[in-house]
């Protein structure tokens, strides 16, 4: 049935415009969403990889030269 409905969907020429509008809306939404984030949270999140590791970064001096 679904296939049958899809086959008879019209207005295929509108798809390009519809997709651009969809993208525009989503992009503006994400932009606003990102902008309203609190700086403190963002700072903490960006430090997650640095704080979670138990292994200290190693100095890598060559040991055989």
């Amino acid at each position: 049935m679904i296939q049958n409905i899809l086959r008879h969907l019209g207005g295929v020429e509108q798809y390009g415009v519809v997709s651009l509008c969809l993208f525009g809306t989503l992009f503006v939404g994400v932009l606003i969403w990102a902008l309203v984030q609190k700086q403190g949270h963002l700072d903490r999140m960006s430090r997650v990889p640095l704080d979670t590791d138990t292994v200290e970064p190693l100095q890598t001096p060559p040991n055989h030269e």
Partner: protein, 716 residues
């Protein structure tokens, strides 16, 4: 505070596998690269010939090298970002061994000619099922680990891993829908233009969600770790993620510009491809700017050197990709080595160098010892970089040269280079240089393997690494009701659902027209299904990987119609399961080859292409002359094709043996006319000639009845 142990065993296993398969994949690439200027290095066996090894090379690099690199990076970083051991050790090892088994089965079946012929999805249906099972195990392990995490919020790297897991599953399953005819032979359920659309929706997004998103996640983890400073802008990473996953999924049709795909779908693919520059460059700049104030570290740490080149190569490839997706640029670049240069900027630069960076980072940490030799790693860096340059620059030159030569007309209005071979011969020096570049790159990998091996020997491996973290208060997590990204980072299921919706929207809008097109494909009454002998010949064409070098899609340009004949129409491919349009013309297009040459010409040409086309770089297909055609599979194959929509009647299937006998006799008569009288009628060559002589001839035939609708010319 809870104490737990990170699983380093499986990380190490994936790391070793990535290094080994990296070597295998690039060596396979070098072998076939050499065949392009010295065809004899196929050792005159079908198993080592370009057409069969090319998919082995691409699969080895994408799924074996990058696949293992991806799992390695994810398993290492996910545990640390979640402050938890992987959800299940059993699933981790099932993931590891299952993936290796799939790679080995690919390495066996592809040289045997068992292939679906769909690019980067060549593996036959039992292996496709195995891939789905192993991938599901990976997904359970991923989400299970996220579920039992001790860090409240999911860091940006994890979002990219989630998008990878979900989208690859969706792409793989939809593109691999096929009808089995036997254990190792199946036919795509889609035909012609629909198959092409689904394939490139898959193919493009495999680049996006297998080669890009997991590696971006790794960049977001390992780059800040190595530079020991947080990512430049976390805000930008939010926009990068959502922008990228939403736009990428729409861009697939740019692989089919100027083909028989409807114009609106081509334009949609082009516009979204151009828009992709924005999130891609956002991500690249976010990575590079993370190093602000830390560039001195890049000088000292080879790991960061590799990372910087990888991210730069990502930036170059993601600017070039949208450029190539512009129709007017694509008109020149498509089917040429420009595409090869583009993908190798991505594969050698982005994926290759990032994997090397990852391995140089991990081994000293897994073995608790400094890298054996920083100097050797620096040698690897420079040899690899020079190798990459020697690879891509000749390929750009070759691509532009071929594109221009194919299109050039002389003052009298004739093609300046009417013989395709003129361009082939012109490109051979470029192919030699490319092999030099590839060899250098391989030398670099060997140096890395030595360095990593010596590092491992010098240190002590910690398989279960102890760590501590406070338990996560799940109640507190749920309390947060603010609908910001902060909230979303704490709810993995909702996050996964939103990601799925983002990738499905684009997919749906591309695939819905696939059904619409079914009604709109202009039916051409004279287009009929292949005869049993032609069908078997087509299967041999697929087995030998002819599609790797020959397209079957003449674009509506005067330069192409002059050279090849009438441009290809959508309605001509309605019985093509799978489609064989191809994406590269190392040799000429074959869509209108039918009837162009006598049968004996094809016989001589396949036996030794240089006998009819001096200077040709096509391998000799002598085994087609001697191997007996397997006709026992005819009925099961016709039945399988009927199930996917090819209208074979019962009597046609029942009388297939008779039909094969009659048509073989005709071909033999054709051969005899060319003084070839020593061929028995039951050899594979007969079926291949039958198929080649049928190609593109249907629209030339006068239909018994008037066509229902005339083929409408493309607007391009």
């Amino acid at each position: 505070m809870e104490t737990f142990k990170f699983d380093n065993h499986v990380v190490r296993a994936f790391a070793i596998a990535a290094a080994i398969w990296g070597l295998v994949g690039t060596v396979a690439g070098l072998l076939i690269a050499c065949q392009l200027f010295y065809p004899a290095v196929n050792f005159n066996t079908p198993f080592t010939t370009f057409g069969r090894l090319r998919p082995l090379h691409t699969n080895a690099v994408i799924f074996a090298f990058v696949g293992n690199g991806m799992f390695c990076g994810i398993y290492y970083s996910l545990q640390r970002l979640c402050r938890a051991r992987m959800f299940s050790d059993a699933l981790s090892w099932f993931n590891f061994w299952g993936w290796q088994a799939i790679i080995v089965s690919a390495a066996i079946t592809l040289p045997l000619g068992l292939t679906s012929s769909k690019e980067y999805a060549e593996l036959e249906w039992p292996i496709d099922i195995a891939i789905a099972v192993v991938w599901v195990a990976f997904c359970i392990n991923l989400f299970g680990t996220i579920w039992k995490r001790r860090e409240k919020h999911m860091y940006v790297a994890i979002w990219f891993y989630i998008a990878t897991a979900i989208t690859v599953a969706m792409l793989h399953i939809i593109n691999s829908l096929e009808m089995p005819a036997s254990l190792f032979k199946s036919y795509s359920v889609y035909a012609g233009v629909q198959d092409a659309l689904v394939q490139w929706w898959y193919g493009h997004n495999a680049v996006a969600f297998f080669l890009t998103t997991p590696y971006l996640g790794m960049m977001y983890y390992f780059l800040p770790k190595a530079a020991n400073r947080p990512v430049f802008s976390y805000r930008l990473s939010i926009i990068h993620f959502w922008g990228l996953i939403f736009i990428y999924i729409w861009a697939g049709p740019h692989h089919l510009l100027y083909t028989a795909l409807p114009d609106w779908a081509q334009s949609l693919g082009m516009v979204f491809s151009v828009m992709l520059v924005a999130p891609s460059w956002g991500g690249m700049l976010n990575g590079l700017l993370t190093l602000r104030g830390a560039w001195d570290k890049v000088r000292q740490d080879p790991m960061l050197k590799f990372m910087v080149v990888a991210v730069t190569a990502y930036g170059m490839a993601t600017l070039e990709g949208p450029t190539l997706a512009i129709k007017s640029v694509n008109a020149l670049s498509h089917y040429t080595d420009w595409t090869i240069a583009h993908v190798h900027t991505g594969a050698l630069g982005w994926n290759g160098f990032l994997t090397f960076s990852l391995l140089y980072y991990l081994f000293p940490r897994l073995y608790k010892t400094p890298l054996w030799s920083v100097k050797l790693a620096n040698y690897h860096f420079w040899i690899g970089l020079i190798g990459m340059m020697f690879y891509v620059v000749p390929m750009y030159t070759s691509g532009v040269t071929a594109g221009l030569m194919w299109k050039e007309f002389n003052a009298d209005g004739y093609l300046r280079y009417s013989n395709f071979l003129e361009s082939t011969i012109r490109l051979i020096p470029m192919y030699v240089l490319r092999a030099v570049g590839g060899s250098l790159y391989i030398v670099g990998i060997v140096l890395m393997m030595v360095n990593l091996y010596r590092t491992a020997k010098a240190g002590r491996f910690i398989g279960d690494e102890e760590a501590q973290a406070p338990a996560l208060n799940r109640e507190a997590t749920r309390e947060s009701t603010k609908l910001g990204h902060r909230w979303l980072e704490g709810v993995p299921v909702t996050f996964a659902v939103l990601t799925t919706i983002a990738v499905i929207i684009g997919g749906l809008i591309e695939i819905v027209p696939m059904f619409l097109i079914q009604e709109n494909v202009p039916t051409i009454a004279s287009v009929k299904p292949y005869t049993p002998l032609e069908m078997l010949g087509r299967d041999l064409y697929i087995r030998e990987g002819c599609v790797g070098c020959h397209s079957q899609m003449i674009r509506p340009f005067r330069s192409e119609t002059e050279r090849y004949g009438e441009y290809s129409k959508v309605g001509e491919f309605v019985y093509d399961h799978p489609f064989l349009w191809g994406s590269k013309r190392t040799g000429p297009d074959l869509h209108r080859i039918g009837g162009k040459y006598p049968d004996a010409w094809h016989y001589n040409h396949l036996e030794n292409p240089r006998s009819t086309s001096p200077g040709s770089i096509m391998p000799n297909y002598t085994w087609l002359l001697t191997q007996k055609l397997d006709t026992t599979v005819t009925i099961e194959r016709m039945r399988a094709l009927r199930k996917v929509g090819v209208p074979y009647r019962d009597d046609e299937i029942a009388n297939s043996a008779k039909s094969i006998e009659i048509q073989s006799k005709k071909i033999l008569a054709g051969l005899a006319a060319g003084s070839i009288t020593n061929t028995p009628p039951d050899r594979e060559i007969v079926a291949v000639i039958a198929y080649l002589q049928r190609l593109g001839t249907d629209i030339k035939a006068t239909p018994a009845t008037a066509p229902e609708t005339k083929a409408t010319p493309a607007k391009n």
